[in-house]
Amino acid sequence: MQQSIITCRDLVWQPKKTAFSLQAIDLDIYVGEFLTLLGPSGCGKTSLLRLLGGLIEPASGDLLLRGKRINGLDAAHRPINMVFQNYALFPFMSVADNVGFALRCQGIRGEAYHQRISEILEKVHLTGFEKRYPSELSGGQQQRVAIARALINKPSVLLLDEPMSALDKQIKRSLRRELKSLQKELGITFVMVTHDQEEALSMSDRIVLMREGRIVQIDTPRGMYESPKTLYAAQFIGEANIFRLPVKSVHDKSLIVTLCDRTFLIKKPLKHEEITTHVNLIIRPEDFQAWDSSEIESDKLYLPGRVESVIYKGSTVELQVILSDGTPVSVTEFFDETDETLDYRCGESVHLSWQAGWEVVLNDDS
């Protein structure tokens, strides 16, 4: 069992005059992990981050830091600091003055002041940049200044509020790598807010998926992608083909559904009593395989369809296929030793199959 550093118990936040609120937030943040709060805009992820940082106060519930209740403690007195959107560095201060801001606020001067600034700058590999101004730094260097500024008081947790939202894609990718490795080196708990599922998947130890002020699922990136607990999670993270199918019959370990007039036996992950008249079958595009008629013996176990569009992406080919019952389906094929050519034409008829057991079966979202 991992040790938690921050614990939220039934936190509620209800701002005045708006319909929006955070409800029943239960969350354990573990020591040293990289946690991501993920969701579309307006899901409450930034508000939750601000609750943790003490910039806003919960209406009810408990917020614990190492088991001690910290509700009502203001931002300045929490050992939690924040890296803001686009870093919010003070443009009229040098790197050293930015980093030393929190120390000056406490009246720390002289030898100790400079000592601590050079220590932290060394940690983020910015020694020698003391006299530069933020406008003279690259995106990566600004990120490191922002982290150094937030870490100067040795907080237990660092909060990051969509730090890379305004940067272009190329820079983002390298900054992600840098941020992740910095977090590992420093060994500090990071809690980051993002609406970018790719960012969440590639950086986090665990992802907290949110929707309309509630937590939908907390899981590792792999768990989130491979076993989403709701249709919302399946759709938000990665691409998913969702088939809503009537249940033909239910057996001990499997259920039988029909799709395109073909009968499929599906492993039964849901409990018996949870199964209603319909289930949702979720298949990721890359779990489909497309065959042409010469490659298969009988079309009994394949979904017949027609290629609608082909997008070549270098390492993959993305197909839009319309099944015989009219359902559009996304299929991603990889170039590998088994299939080197991957030559598809629009209008061609194909037969789809998927790796048995890789499908996810879910009820409708309540």
Partner: protein, 254 residues
């Protein structure tokens, strides 16, 4: 530009600037009354320099200008900050009212202030002038400073708060440096507005405290006077300097 627009352009420029050239030129004219050129002289400038009454009213205007500029800039900063940082009832109304104050005719404001001071039994002199000048400079200060704040990243203040800055420290280390150029521009603008005001000052000044523009106005009524030409040339020089300084300050936004 074709020839027609070019000639029109020069015509407009000439129309705008010829009066100033004339004033400057005649301030060096060696003749008391004539509007014909009689040769070069510094005498009007030297006469200006030795005019004790003029020195006194100039001193009045400088004191008034500096104090009004300082107070209106300080108040302007506080008002702009409140409008920027807080969302309160009547916020938009206040912004709107400030714009009304900018375009309101001077005469209306002058009479309003005069009635107010009369009914409050304030004796007319420095205090009434000062209050009047602050009240007509303040909207301009708020406009200049608010405009600068609207470009300021609001996260800077949150960051300062998160790093443990007290309200005072947030002001001193974040807000004032961020507003610095706008504060200077506001002060310069307020100073100029105060320094050349005639209409409002006319209604709220007393006999013991005459300002430079009021004095010049009185002098000009007595007829053409080369001394006034010299004075106007100096004021023109001052204005150009202020414009250049404020443009440089606004140009480089730190």
């Amino acid at each position: 530009m074709n020839r027609l627009t070019r000639s029109l352009f020069f015509l407009v420029m000439a129309f705008l600037y010829i009066p100033m050239v004339v004033v400057v030129l005649f301030s060096f004219n060696h003749s008391l009354h004539s509007l014909i050129w009689h040769g070069w002289t510094w005498q009007w400038y030297s006469k200006l320099w030795h005019d004790a009454l003029l020195a006194k009213v100039t001193w009045h205007s400088l004191c008034l200008g500096f104090s009004a500029a300082f107070i209106s800039t300080v108040l302007g900063a506080v008002v702009s900050y409140s409008l920027y940082r807080y969302r309160f009832f009547g916020r938009r109304l206040i912004s709107g009212l400030l714009i009304v104050l900018i375009v309101i005719p001077d005469l209306v404001m002058a009479i309003a202030l005069m009635i107010l001071f009369r009914s409050a039994h304030v004796s007319f002199g420095f205090v009434t002038l000062f209050l009047a000048h602050v009240s007509f400079c303040l909207p301009f200060s708020v406009m200049v400073i608010s405009n600068r704040l609207s470009d300021l990243n609001p996260q800077l203040l949150l960051a300062a708060e998160d790093l443990g800055a007290s309200l005072w420290q947030q002001w001193w280390w974040v807000m004032i440096p961020a507003m610095r150029s706008a504060l200077l521009v506001s002060a310069l603008l307020s100073f100029m507005l105060s320094f050349d005001d005639v209409v409002i000052s006319f209604f709220v000044s007393g006999p013991n405290y005459v300002t430079l523009p009021l004095h010049v106005y009185a002098m000009a009524k007595l007829g053409a006077n080369p001394e006034i030409n010299a004075l106007c040339s100096l004021l023109l020089l001052l204005t150009v300097a202020v414009v250049l300084i404020s443009q440089r300050l606004l140009g480089k936004k730190t």
